[in-house]
């Protein structure tokens, strides 16, 4: 395996700046890696080789010319990145992993993509996801499953399994994901990578195909905490095109990560959420979590127990609010203005029937389930009991967080209750699938930021540790996350991801 691809984004950026390697070399190395292993992983739905190499060449030329323009290059310029196929990109298809948008070419770029282009990060391509971001395993993609690089029979998490698998398998050092109920963090946990859901509004949603508008956020996916800090600083910021975008930019994320990496957590109060441990959490997950707590304590953190009693209603509230917004957000997919149009096989050709046939053919089962559920939750006579009640639970969960953050600066929990499960395990049990998000959902409901960092292995599969911080305090995540990362790597003597089984043409041939 080419050493270039083993580098973190920050490390690669340093080498690019030092002139030790060119961006074209770096991008080519990653394209070669994708060619080698993605047949087995299926992390990528589209590879953007030509444009990526062109951007890389452009960056190399600027650097070679030196002068003011070279000085002005973004720190991550020339570092390749993969984009979750839920974020619209001009020049590459955006499918949301759905048949509905097969081959759809957006006429506009998402705001985060505009920033990526301005900073000149070459985009390697679009990564796989659960269709319209609905799922926890990427098994609901219309374009095949993505496999976990740690074990090809296991799920990479979802909905952002593609981005996580790409980063975990060294196909890309950086990626973008979206997180509505854990879709960045849970894949991060089960693939041994880092993923962050920023404070709601910290990153513009303009151009992220909406799933649940009051819950969605775009966020960074990487192998190190520092990389995610750089990436969030790049993609974050106020956007006049997004009315829910925070007025003030969040700052100091990289600085916080660097500070945290010293491993000194004196003065930090870390709250263990009682309701997010114990029953329902696999033994190995719980064990890794407890060990991490010990490490944090040894580093000077004060560990306290906090209780968030309303968290037990979080899953229910989420599975009411989210499908309700989904049912409305996905109404636009009707075969009129864009996307697939399917005609009914028999009977009169009316627009009503064409819409119904289009949506029947274009959406997968999970999407249909959630649309119907959401339509139900909003319908006349049911609103108060379902959607209305869920919005009240949201208030209670925010209050629980407020109370908890009185006692602690960050909260901590296992990111997911289990390690990566087998592909196909939850095929017939949607409800069981939903339980994967119990620990991640509360943050989306409240709008607070969360990060997952690799916490060790159980059954040879990664376990993730989640930190949560108050709204706007994303920096605290980077400090705590970087500290735990440093402490664990010191204890292990290496990073967790370096322990992932080697995947290359040889091992793939062996599996086949």
């Amino acid at each position: 395996m080419n050493d270039l691809i083993k580098l973190s984004g920050t490390e690669l950026a340093a080498k690019l700046r030092a002139g030790e390697v060119t961006s074209v070399q770096a991008v080519q190395a990653h394209l070669d890696r994708i060619a080698e292993v993605d047949g087995a992983l299926n992390a990528f739905l589209h590879v953007n080789a030509e444009e990526a190499l062109a951007v890389a060449a452009e960056v190399d030329a600027i650097r070679a010319a030196g002068g003011a323009e070279a000085q002005a290059l973004h720190p991550l310029a020339g570092v390749p990145i993969a984009i979750k196929d839920l974020i619209v990109t001009k020049g590459q298809p955006t499918t949301a992993a759905s048949k509905m948008l097969e081959g759809w070419m957006s006429p506009y770029d998402a705001t985060v993509i505009e920033k990526i282009r301005a900073a000149k990060l070459p985009m390697l391509g679009k990564t796989n996801l659960d269709e319209f971001a609905m799922g926890s395993s990427t098994e609901h993609s219309a374009y095949g499953v993505t496999r976990n690089p740690w074990n090809l029979d296991r799920i990479p998490g979802g909905s952002g399994g593609g981005s996580a698998a790409a980063v975990a398998s060294f196909e890309a050092p950086l990626a973008l994901g979206t997180d509505t109920g854990g879709s960045i963090r849970q894949p991060g946990a089960v693939t041994g990578t880092v993923g962050v859901k920023p404070t709601y509004g910290a990153v513009s949603r303009y151009g992220a195909i909406a799933m649940a508008s009051s819950l969605d956020q775009i966020g960074p996916v990487s192998r190190t905490v520092l990389d995610s800090a750089y990436l969030q600083e790049l993609i974050g910021g106020h956007d006049p095109k997004d009315s829910t975008s925070l007025p003030k930019d969040l700052e100091g994320l990289v600085a916080a990560a660097e500070a945290g990496a010293t491993g000194d957590l004196k003065g930090l109060r870390v709250g263990v959420i009682k309701e997010l441990t114990g029953e329902g959490y696999q033994e190995g997950v719980q064990a890794r979590f407890n060990e991490s707590l010990e490490l944090l304590k040894a580093a000077g953190a004060e560990i306290v127990e906090v209780s968030c009693p309303n968290f037990k209603y979080a899953l229910g509230a989420y599975y009411l609010i989210m499908p309700s917004e989904v049912s409305s957000n996905l109404a636009k997919f009707d075969g009129v203005r864009f996307g697939q149009r399917v005609l009914p096989k028999e009977g009169p050709l009316t627009i009503e029937r064409v819409m119904a046939a289009t949506r029947a053919a274009g959406f997968g089962d999970e999407v249909k389930r959630r649309i119907i559920l959401g339509t139900y939750a909003l319908s006349a006579g049911y609103y108060d009991a379902y959607y209305g009640s869920a919005q009240k639970v949201r208030t209670l969960i925010q209050r629980d967080f407020d109370a908890a953050f009185e006692q602690a600066d960050v909260l901590v929990s296992p990111t997911a209750p289990t390690v990566a499960f087998e592909l196909g395990k939850n095929d017939n049990d949607p409800l069981a699938m939903y339980l994967n998000d119990v620990a991640t959902i509360p943050a989306n409901l409240a709008g607070v930021p969360g990060i997952t960092v690799p916490g060790g292995l159980s059954e040879d599969l990664p376990v993730g540790i989640q930190f949560l911080a108050p709204a706007f305090e994303d920096a605290r995540l980077y400090r705590a996350g970087a500290a735990l990362e440093a402490l664990l790597e010191k204890q292990w003597g290496h990073s967790l991801i370096s322990q992932a089984p080697a995947i290359d043409s040889a091992s793939i041939a062996q599996e086949a």
Partner: protein, 98 residues
């Protein structure tokens, strides 16, 4: 609170404009019934003195000046149209409504 019936699902599929076969309706009813049962507990704790939160971060008055921006070209507009004539989207006959 009653969990969801097949009749409900038929009606909802119609509202949501998703055509479903009988088999699909049966399956969906079973799945949704279980899900709705599991999430119904939210109404237990949602008493009348708890206000609803519709936006996680409380912002107000995000307003835009009344200045014209950039529009799409007609090619960009019709780029992905499933059916169109030279300048408008084409849809089959509309039956209900006016």
């Amino acid at each position: 609170m009653s969990a969801i019936s097949r009749e409900d699902v038929v009606h909802l599929a119609h509202l949501a404009h998703i055509e479903m076969s009988d088999a699909e309706l049966d399956k969906m009813t079973g799945e949704l019934d279980a899900i709705v049962g599991a999430i119904a507990s939210v109404s237990e704790v949602a008493s009348s003195d708890v206000p609803a939160t519709s936006h996680p971060i409380p912002l107000t008055n995000v307003l835009r000046e009344d200045t014209v921006g950039q529009t799409l070209s007609i090619d960009e507009v019709l780029l992905n149209a499933p059916d169109s004539d030279s300048d408008r989207f084409k849809v089959p006959a509309i039956l209900d409504g006016e």
